[in-house]
Amino acid sequence: MMPPSEMNDAGMNGDGMKNDLRGDSAGGSNRGSGRELQYELLLSRKVTDSEGKTMGRLEEASAAMVGGECVVLDFHVGGFSGLERLGNVTLISRLIRTLGGGRFYRTFVVPADQLDLSDPRHPRARRPMDEFQTLRSEAES
């Protein structure tokens, strides 16, 4: 935990300036050992599996506190079976799911280490899609 005086200036550190976009809309950049990525720019990206087939669009990530850190456990990739390209086009997709089309919607759970984010604009799962679990409940809507 950072001492309070540092926390007040947290927004003003040099990293805030350097890590802004470098003409790359996915907002990735390198900084020391870890690479930084903007989660909100990953959303709605089309995710393909190891065989190149479209699984859907990245719509959610689940995280948990592990050893004092907030760690991403898995990514949720959703799409209408057959229309995976439509994925989570927010309003339209949510409308359809609210009105009962939810049974046609499939959400894959991709563990964080199974998603290749080296190209943030084209996330790739490291395995074929049927090797991933799907979410049953409508909790995602």
């Binding site: 909100e40 959303l43 927010t90 309003l91 409308l95 609210t98 809507s141």
Partner: protein, 405 residues
């Protein structure tokens, strides 16, 4: 909910329902089609009751105002669509309402509306700037009751009530088809103004509503808007009695005073001018507030109805810039009545942007818990959703073809 809050809510609904747009569209409807379009007012009022009740329930249960809930569930990009549409519409409705107040003052003083527009904008601005909205809200609600004069006038002229009642059943037009549908669309746009339920849900948050307010919310939504709808019908009936038999089309606010003079003589003129000025001015301030709320809530700034500019610079500048811009079309001489017709069509066309998200939000388990929509509310809301999309598709073509004043 306390009785005093409840009655204020109902009174605000009555006084707030009737404003320049409803007066103008109802009068035009009555003048050309007699009682035939009463069903459009009934339909629009029902829609407003629905949307008001839902946005109040959303605020009370989820503890978020409508814009905030939209951003949280649909993300920043969709919020920007809602914001841009909302600000454009606010600009148009502001121009409409300021134009109506200016016209009323022109009728009273003989001085052109073009001179009145800026002073009116400044007075409205000052009321918010000095943090006195709550005073405005209460007094314009009370003063707005003067609009009940239309109901009195309608009753005094003894219309054939059977005929009036039959207007509640939708019928196809026998003449002026494009104009008929355009007027119907405008009536919906005038009655279901998004600023109404956006401000309503924000007010519910400021007053810290919780589940115990839900029945009061329903009563306010039904009676406030319901009575307001009756007043719109009264204007329509009066126009049908006074203008339709003579084949007179309504093309200026000034003409509409003639709906009250047969029953009230010269007082009718005075009461009309006062009603137009008071109701349109109340709407002016409320639209300014709605625009500032929408922007602040979506971006996460502090907001409050009596927010002072020294502590809320960004928020205050939103309504300041907006109201000054809205006065411009009037100052340069664009006809207020034409502005009204145009704005009401755009208002109708923009409905899907707020109605469709509500369909998702009101069914969201985490936001609404046990107070999610039942199947009946959903069915009605879906119908309105479909209707709003139809309106979006037809409003502009109809404007070009048959209406637009």
């Amino acid at each position: 909910m306390k009785i005093s809050q409840l009655s204020l809510g109902v009174v605000t609904g009555i006084g707030g329902f009737l404003e320049a747009g409803s007066i103008a569209t109802s009068a035009q409807a009555g003048a050309v089609f007699r009682y035939q379009l009463i069903w459009a007012v009934v339909l629009a009022t029902a829609g407003l009751v629905l949307l008001t009740e839902m946005s109040g329930r959303l605020a009370a249960v989820s503890k978020r105002a409508l814009t905030g809930a939209i951003r949280e569930r649909f993300g920043f990009p969709y919020f920007m669509i809602v914001l841009v549409v909302g600000l454009v519409l606010s600009f148009l409705v502001l121009a409409t309402e300021i134009g109506a107040v200016a016209t009323a003052l022109q009728m009273a003083s003989g001085i052109s509306y073009r001179w009145w527009a800026l002073p009116i904008a400044l007075v409205g601005w000052l009321l918010l700037w000095r943090g006195t909205f709550s005073v405005v809200e209460n007094s314009s609600a009370m003063l707005g009751l003067i609009s009940m004069a239309f109901a009195v006038g309608a009753v005094m002229m003894h219309p054939h009530w059977g005929e009036v009642a039959s207007g509640m059943i939708p019928t196809l037009p026998t003449h002026d088809r494009a104009n008929y549908w355009f007027t119907a669309v405008s009536i919906v746009g005038a009655s279901i103004s998004p600023y109404l339920y956006f401000v309503y849900s924000s007010g519910a948050i400021e007053e810290k509503w919780d589940e115990s307010y839900l029945s009061g919310n329903r009563i306010t939504a039904v009676f406030g808007n319901g009575m307001g709808g009756l007043l719109s019908i009264a204007v329509l009936v009066l126009a049908g009695l006074v203008f339709e038999p003579r084949g007179i089309k309504v093309e200026h606010y000034q003409q509409i005073a003639a709906t009250l003079t047969p029953s009230m003589g010269h007082w009718g003129f005075i009461i009309f001018v006062a009603t137009l000025a008071i109701t349109a001015f109340g709407a002016t301030v409320e639209v300014m507030l709605a625009a500032a709320y929408m922007t602040a809530q979506g971006f996460g700034w502090e907001w409050a109805e009596d927010a002072r500019p020294r502590e809320h610079a960004r928020y205050s500048l939103v309504y300041t810039v907006l109201v000054l811009l809205a006065a411009v079309p009037l100052v340069i001489g664009i006809d207020p009545f034409k502005v009204t017709n145009f704005s009401m069509a755009i208002s109708a066309a923009s409905l899907p942007v707020s109605v469709l998200p509500l369909l998702v939000l009101m069914n969201d388990h985490e936001l609404m818990g046990d107070h999610r929509n039942g199947w009946l509310s959903n069915a009605v809301l879906v119908l309105f959703g479909v209707l709003s999309v139809v309106l979006l598709l037809v409003a502009i073509p109809l404007q070009i073809m048959g209406g637009g004043g």
